[in-house]
């Protein structure tokens, strides 16, 4: 049963991912990306990583992509849909794809080969929220705090940039 679900989700995710880059309409691309995120969350759920699945949908599909869509809809979609694919972006994309495939092959070569340990014999996964929380506040404390400061800087920057226009009005 799990294998069936895996194939359904994996194929769905790949199709949606392909539709992100093949669609010329930006709205369609953005929505395909949402579908891709949802399938990825489903794959996480199949691995019993429910926390990651929920966060994947909550943050990416539910908030980030809504903002993307929000901006795209304010643009002229028709003009965007008419632009042709350019050679330079195709070549650069291919180079990136080859690079990432190479990285992926390195990971797969060094990792545990598939099927070496039967899935049923693995220990039941601990509560993934507790595990992630503990790791964040012990092993990865510094990166975690640095990211927090980075976000704060970004927030202050946005406020500063959007406030700038108000000064002449005050005079």
């Amino acid at each position: 049963m799990e294998a069936l679900f895996f194939w359904v989700f994996a194929i769905g995710m790949l199709l949606a991912g392909a539709s992100v880059i093949l669609n010329r309409n930006p709205v369609a691309s953005a929505l395909s990306l949402v579908v891709t995120m949802c399938f990825m969350a489903a794959l996480f759920a199949l691995l019993n990583a429910f926390f990651l699945a929920a966060i994947q949908i909550l943050v990416y599909a539910g908030a980030v992509m809504v903002l993307f869509l929000f901006i795209i809809m304010l643009l002229d979609v028709k003009a965007e849909a008419k632009t042709r694919m350019r050679w330079i972006s195709l070549v650069l994309g291919l180079v990136l794809a080859i690079f990432f495939s190479y990285e992926l092959s390195l990971v797969l070569r060094d990792g545990v080969p598939m099927g070496a340990v039967p899935l049923a014999k693995l220990p039941p996964p601990p509560s993934d929220i507790a595990t992630i929380g503990r790791l964040l506040f012990t092993k990865y404390l510094l990166p975690f705090e640095v990211v927090g400061v980075l976000l704060l800087v970004a927030t202050i920057g946005v406020v500063l940039l959007s406030k700038r226009d108000n000064k002449p009005e005050a005079k």
Partner: protein
């Protein structure tokens, strides 16, 4: 509609499947045990059908409640005539079916028939694919979210009898479809997808008023999602778990979160220190729920006085009905979440030692009946919240859009953050 139901079913099934990995579903009929995977799927399908059936029943009757309550508030009669179908009709000239009016409780049937039979008009300028997809997306999230809401306790039901044939049925987690550890996060995640239906409807209609409605809605829902998400963090700081069933269990032994009554078994007086924080959480959650479900006083995305009908201006017939019903479904989901989070879910206001059978149901048919009683308790509490939503809608005027954004970002967000800090400090002092 069908598409909605089937996708909600599929979603719930997947979750149920993965969440029921611990097994335990057994069905033996006349000495034959069914293939376990099939049993799991069948039982989950039955649960899903029951939950979605009850939910759709409440959706249609909250529409009636809305109309009757608004009438009472405005000193009108409201729809109080419609009885059961065929009542007062002479059958074959032989006898007349008695005419029962039943307080207008037959109203949902003609309402839905009207919506189905209306002409379905699609303007020529719309983007057809997204125009059709949007109503489905608006309804779906609410139907999926109910699968993590615990309607009853998790004590397994075991039904067995040997005559006239041998029958054994084990149902673990009878009170919830998918008992996952991240229940509340899942609920937030899926309901955050609801905005796509509205935004797409506004955009694909290719018309100014719907577009403004869609834009307003996306900004509003994202803003209030933040304060809603932050408002529940104090609860989980106190409890230490994200699972909704554990949360209800905690409230059964420690007192409800907005009303920590001291006659529960594990009550401690230091708990009362946290009470103000949790009350504040409740207020923020309640107000955010109004904004998230697009209800007055925050119904800017469809404010009739400015935007005709808002994002669903161009829709008619069943497509409009899906938006309309989706709104009530979202209302019901918000009520379910509030009951679970703050009002003790299915637990009673009495000490657990008075009614031990209620908190730990015995095996067999009696256990099934008690589980049903718990579900009814839950539904009564939920109906109360639906009434509050209706009551507020017909009492308060609409906010202005800038006021809405100011309350969200400049008041609720900092207050929710301070609330988290205060709760954490208090917890550190108490423990």
């Amino acid at each position: 509609m069908l598409m909605n139901l089937s996708s909600a079913l599929a979603g719930a099934c997947v979750l149920g499947q993965t969440a029921a990995a611990d097994g335990g579903y057994v069905l033996n009929v006349a000495g034959y045990s069914l293939w376990p995977a099939l049993t799991i799927t069948l039982l989950i399908l039955v649960k899903v059908a029951v939950v979605i059936g009850v939910m759709l029943f409440f959706v249609s009757y909250s529409v009636v409640a809305e109309r009757r309550c608004s009438a009472a508030i405005q000193d009108r009669m409201g729809p109080n005539r419609t009885g059961l179908p065929l009542s007062g009709v002479k059958v074959l000239g032989l006898f007349t079916v008695p005419k029962w009016k039943l307080l207008g409780l037959g109203q949902p049937l003609p309402d839905s028939l009207k919506l189905i039979l209306k002409e379905e008009f699609t303007p020529a300028s719309v983007n057809k694919f997204y125009f059709t997809l949007a109503p489905a997306l608006a309804m779906m999230p609410s139907l999926i979210v109910v699968c993590v809401v615990p309607y009853a306790c998790l004590v397994p039901i075991h039904i067995a009898f040997s005559s006239p044939f041998e029958f054994v049925l084990n149902i673990p987690n009878p009170g919830v479809i998918a008992n996952i550890d991240v229940g509340i996060l899942f609920a937030f995640a899926i309901s955050s997808l609801g905005v796509y239906g509205i935004v797409l409807a506004g955009w694909s209609s290719n018309s100014k008023y719907p577009f403004l409605g869609g834009i307003r809605s996306s900004a509003q829902m994202i803003s209030y999602e933040v304060s809603m998400g932050l408002s529940v963090i104090p609860i989980f700081l106190v409890i230490g778990k994200l699972n909704l069933s554990d949360l209800v269990q905690y409230q059964a032994t420690h007192g409800w979160l907005i009303f920590p009554f001291p006659w529960t078994s594990e009550f401690t007086w230091s708990q009362l220190l946290l009470w103000p924080c949790l009350l504040l959480s409740f207020v923020i959650f309640l107000v955010s729920a109004f904004a998230e479900t697009n209800r007055l006083p925050f119904d800017l995305p469809e404010s009739e006085t400015e935007l005709v009908g808002g994002y669903h201006t161009e829709y008619s017939s069943m497509k409009f009905a899906l938006f309309f019903l989706g709104e009530y479904a979202a209302l019901i989901v918000a009520s379910c979440l509030m009951v679970t989070l703050f009002l003790g879910g299915w637990s009673w206001l009495t000490p657990a030692s008075w009614t031990p059978w209620y908190y730990n149901p015995p095996a067999g048919w009696l256990g099934l009946a008690i589980t049903g009683l718990q579900a009814i308790t839950f539904l009564i509490k939920m109906a109360m919240f639906i009434f509050v939503f209706i009551w507020v809608r017909w009492t308060l005027p609409r906010f202005r859009y800038d006021q809405l954004m100011q309350i969200g970002w400049k008041f609720f967000l900092p207050v929710a953050l301070l609330n988290i800090l205060l709760t954490a400090v208090l917890l550190a002092v108490i423990r």
